[in-house]
C-alpha cells in the first residue's frame, strides 16, 4: 500500500490530544468510546475481510469508510490511512492489494485497541 510516510512518522497509534479532548468532555465519553472500539472493531474487520473475499467493492468501501471514521475519533493516523487506502481502492473499483492492506489494518487496530485500553 502507499500510505504517505508522514502518516506513520509518529509511532504512537493514537493522538494523545484527541484522547485528552475526549476525556475533557467528561461523562465517561472516552471510556464508553474505548469500550465501543473493543466491541465494534473486530466485527467491522470481519465484515471488511468478507467483503474483500467476495470482491464486493460496495461493501468494502463502506466498511473501510466506517473504520476510517472510527479511527479519526482517536486520532489513530495509521489506522485511518490504512482504512482510507482500502476505501480509495474500492472507490476506484479495484481491490488489488487490498487483502495485504487489511492484514496491516488488523494489526494496527490491535495496537490502537491496546493504546486505548491504557489511557481510558
Amino acid at each position: 500500500m502507499n500510505v504517505d510516510s508522514r502518516d506513520i512518522a509518529n509511532d504512537s497509534s493514537i493522538d494523545q490530544k484527541a484522547v485528552q479532548d475526549l476525556r475533557n468532555e467528561g461523562e465517561n465519553l472516552l471510556s464508553d468510546l474505548v469500550d465501543m472500539f473493543i466491541h465494534e472493531v473486530p466485527g467491522q474487520l470481519a465484515t471488511l475481510e468478507a467483503a474483500l473475499a467476495k470482491r464486493d467493492v460496495g461493501a468494502a468501501r463502506l466498511t473501510a469508510h466506517t473504520l476510517k471514521g472510527t479511527s479519526a475519533n482517536f486520532g489513530a493516523a495509521r489506522m485511518q490511512a490504512l482504512a482510507n487506502a482500502i476505501e480509495e481502492k474500492a472507490r476506484n473499483g479495484s481491490l488489488d492489494g487490498a487483502s495485504a492492506t487489511v492484514v496491516e489494518l488488523r494489526a494496527e487496530c490491535t495496537r490502537v485497541r491496546d493504546a486505548l485500553k491504557a489511557v481510558r
Binding site: E25, L29, L33, G69, A72
Partner: protein
C-alpha cells in the same frame, strides 16, 4: 423549551459523540437510527425539531441519505437538519446546503464542531435557551 432531536448515523461512535454534544447543548435526543430508512420511520413517528443526518451510510430499503433528506424536507420543511459527514467534498456540502440543510459538520468532531451549529440553531429556535 426542550427541542427534540433525532440522530441518523450508521456509526455507533458518531451517534455517541453527537448525542453527547447535543445533550450538552440542551437538546433532548429522542431517537437514534442506523440507516436512512430507519431514520425516516423515526422521523415520522417522533416528529423531532432537529435531525442530524450522516451523509455516507449503506443504502437500505432503497433509501440513501440524500433521499431521506429530501423526503424530510418535503414532509416537514421547518425541521432543522444538520448534515454530518467525513466527506469534505464541496459539491456534496453544497447540494445539502442549497436544498435547505441548517449546517454541514465535518467528522471527526471536536469540542468546536458544534459551536457554529449552536449559533444556527439559536436562530432556528429563538425560544430555545441552551
Amino acid at each position: 423549551m426542550t427541542v427534540a432531536a433525532l440522530i441518523i448515523d450508521d456509526s455507533p461512535f458518531a451517534r455517541k459523540i453527537i448525542r453527547h454534544h447535543l445533550t450538552k447543548l440542551g437538546f433532548h435526543v429522542e431517537g437514534e437510527a442506523e440507516t436512512a430508512a430507519q431514520g425516516l420511520r423515526l422521523f415520522r413517528e417522533l416528529k423531532p425539531k432537529l435531525v442530524t443526518l450522516d451523509v455516507m451510510m449503506p443504502e437500505r430499503e432503497g433509501i440513501d441519505s440524500l433521499a431521506a433528506f429530501r423526503t424530510m424536507r418535503k414532509e416537514v420543511p421547518e425541521t432543522a437538519i444538520v448534515v454530518v459527514s467525513a466527506v469534505p467534498f464541496e459539491k456534496t456540502r453544497d447540494t445539502f446546503l442549497n436544498e435547505g440543510a441548517t449546517a454541514y459538520v465535518i467528522k471527526p468532531f471536536s469540542q468546536f464542531s458544534f459551536e457554529p451549529v449552536r449559533q444556527k440553531l439559536q436562530r432556528a429556535f429563538p425560544a430555545w435557551t441552551a
